[in-house]
Symmetry: C3
Subunit: 279 residues, 3 copies
Amino acid sequence: MADQGHQEHINPWGSKSWTYLSSLRQQSPLIQCITNLVSMDLMANTLLAAGASPAMVHSILEIPDFTPHTQAVLVNVGTLTSDWLPAMKAAAGVANRLGKPWVLDPAAVGASGFRLKACLELIELKPSVIRGNGSEIISLSMASIGSTKGADSLHESSDAVDAAKSLAKSSGCIVAISGSVDFVTDGERVVGVRNGVPMMQKITASGCAVTALIAAFVALDPTNAFEATAAAFSVFGLAGEIGMGMANGPASLRMHLIDSLHGLDQDTVLRRVNITNFS
Amino acid sequence: MADQGHQEHINPWGSKSWTYLSSLRQQSPLIQCITNLVSMDLMANTLLAAGASPAMVHSILEIPDFTPHTQAVLVNVGTLTSDWLPAMKAAAGVANRLGKPWVLDPAAVGASGFRLKACLELIELKPSVIRGNGSEIISLSMASIGSTKGADSLHESSDAVDAAKSLAKSSGCIVAISGSVDFVTDGERVVGVRNGVPMMQKITASGCAVTALIAAFVALDPTNAFEATAAAFSVFGLAGEIGMGMANGPASLRMHLIDSLHGLDQDTVLRRVNITNFS
Amino acid sequence: MADQGHQEHINPWGSKSWTYLSSLRQQSPLIQCITNLVSMDLMANTLLAAGASPAMVHSILEIPDFTPHTQAVLVNVGTLTSDWLPAMKAAAGVANRLGKPWVLDPAAVGASGFRLKACLELIELKPSVIRGNGSEIISLSMASIGSTKGADSLHESSDAVDAAKSLAKSSGCIVAISGSVDFVTDGERVVGVRNGVPMMQKITASGCAVTALIAAFVALDPTNAFEATAAAFSVFGLAGEIGMGMANGPASLRMHLIDSLHGLDQDTVLRRVNITNFS
C-alpha cells in the first residue's frame, strides 16, 4: 500500500471510539433497519449488544408514523425485491427531509441491473454513509454490474480506495470499504482501520451488521459521520479480535463477537483501536 | 409493588409447570407460527428445544389445508406488512371457528396506526392470550400509538398491570406482560412470574420466543390458558437463569438458554419455578 | 432393514467425500439459494463454513442477470407464498436451460395442495436432486398431501425408500431422504449414509442446510449428483457427530456443527464417513 502515503498511528481514535461506544450504551438510539432477510437476526443482536435499540420496520404504511421517531435509518439491499424498494426510498426520504442520518449498504449491488439501479436511486436520497466491500464500491462508482460474486468481494478493499474517493466526491457521502483493512473516506481524507480477523468473512451478514453499527454511531454524531464510521469499524473489528481468542470456527466466533461487543471495556478500546490516517 | 397486595408463594406452580413441559415433550403439538422475520430462527428453535413441533406457514393459500391440523396458532406482528395481514386473520379465524387456541404477540404495536389497527382487528378474532411488554399492553389497552420505542418497552411491566386487567376484561383474553417480573391476568386474577434474567432483553426476539412457548403450552390445555401462560413464562425464564450461569454475554446466553430449555429436569422445575399470586 | 439386502462398507466413499469437500474449499462455487425465511441464516453459514459462496437472491427481476453466473441453484419451499414461486421457477428454468444443476427441497410439501402443486411443477423443471424427509418424499411420490406434520416427518427414512426409487424413476432426479439413516437413490442404486446424530433434528433448518450443501457438492460434479449427494449427507452428518461431542443441547450443537464443518480434516473424513451400498 505504498501508494497510500505516509501512515501514522493517531492515538486519539481510541478515545473517540470509546466515546461513541459509551454514548451508545447510555443513549440507546432507535435505529430503523430495512435490511435483507438473512441479516435480521445478527443485525438486531449486534445493535442490542452494542447498546442501541433496533427496529426492523419495513412496511411503507408505517414509515410516516414511525421513521420520524428514529435516530437513524439503515437500508440494506441484500435480498431486494421490487415490493421492498418503495419503503426503502420512503424511509430514506423521511430521514433526508428531517435531517436524520441514514446509511446505505449496497449488498451485492453488482448482482443485477435492478439492484444497481435501485442503489443509484437511493444514493440520490443522500445517505450519510455508504458501506460496501471492495467489489460493491467499485460497482457503485462505475455504475456497472458484474464485478462481484454474490455477496462476496472479488477485490481487496485497498483496490477500491480510489473508487471510494470518487464515489464520495460525486455523492457527497462518506464511503466505507470493508475488507482485510477497512477504509473510510469523505473524498479527501482516508483512514484505514486494522481491527478485525479474516474469519469474520465466514460469518454471514457480518458486513451487514457492521453497517448497522455504523448507523448507530452516526446517530450519535450526525455531523461527523466520517469519524463515527471509522470508530464503528474499529469497535466491531475489535470485538471480532477478542471473540477470535475464544473461537473454534465461524459459528463460535459469531457468538463470542457479540458477547465481546457487549462487554468491551474502556481500557481495551483505548489500547487496541487501530485506525490510521492516510495523508 | 405495595399496591399489588399480599403475595404468597404457591408451591403447586412448580408441579403444574413441570406437567406442561413434560406433556409438551410427549405430545409435541404442531404450532403454526405466523411471525416476524427477525424471530423465525429463535422461535422455531425454542419450540423444538421445548418439545413442540413448529411450522412457519404463512401463505393464505395454505391455511384452509394446514391450519385445521395444528394444535395452536401464533400470530406476531413484529414485521407486519399489508400482504401478511390477511393470512394472520385467516389463520386466527380458522382457529377461532374450530375452537383451537391462538395467541397474539402485538410486537411494537405502538409503532404506527397501521399496526395498532391490525392488532385491534386481530383481537376481534378472540385470541386465547395476548403477550406483550409493558408499552405494548398499554398501547393496546388505550388503543393509542407512541408509548413505545420500537420493539423495546418504555414501561416497567408492573406499570401495565392495570392496563392488562382492563384489556383482559374488554377482550375476554388472558393478557400477559413480560418484563423484569412477568404478569398474567384474566382481568380478575393476577400472577407474577419472577423467573428470568435481565440480559434476556438483549437477545432479539426473546419476547417473541416466549409467546410461542405460551402458544405451545396453551395447546396442551386450551381451557386453562391462564395457568399455561404463567407456566410458559416461568419455564422460559428458568431456562434463562440456568443459561445465565454459563453465559458471557447475550449471544452465549441465547445458546445456553435453548440448551437449558431442552435439558430442563423435573427437580429443577419443581424447586425454581417462581410464580406468585396477587390477591 | 433386512429387505434392503446385503450391506457392505465401501471405503472409497471416504476419499470421494474428502475430494468434494476439499474441492469446495478451493473452488468456492457460487450457490444461489431461494429458500425459506427460517433457514436463511443457518443455510448461508453452512455454505460459508463448508467453503462455498452463498447468495440469497430471490427477486425474479434479478434472475436473468444473476443466475447465469452461479454454479448451482437451490430452491426450498419451506415458507412458500405465491409471490415467491415465479422466481423459483424462473431460476430453475435458467439452470435447466444452461445445464446447471439445481436442487429442490420440498419442505413440508404435504402441508397443502398449493405447496404440493408447486413442487410437482418445479419437478417438471428437472432438478438434479430432490432432498426431503420420509414424509415429504412419500407425499411427492404419491402426489398427495397430509402425510406430514409441518416440517417434521411422520415416517422413518427407511419407510420411504421405495417411494424414493419410484420418484427417482418417474422424475429422472436423484432422490435423497434424510433421517436416522439418510438414503440416496437414482431409482436403481441405493446408498445409506449413517453419519449424523439424532439431536440434529432439534435444530431448525438443519435439513434445509444439508440440501444446500448437496447443491454445493453437486455444483462441483454435476454429472455425478448421486455420489455428490451421498458425500454431502455424510460430511454434514460427520460435522454433527463431532459437534455432538462438544454440545450440551441443540443450540450448542448447531454452533459446534458449523465450526466442525469448517474445520473438518482429511483424516477424520477418511476414517469416519459411513456410506453403505445396498445392492
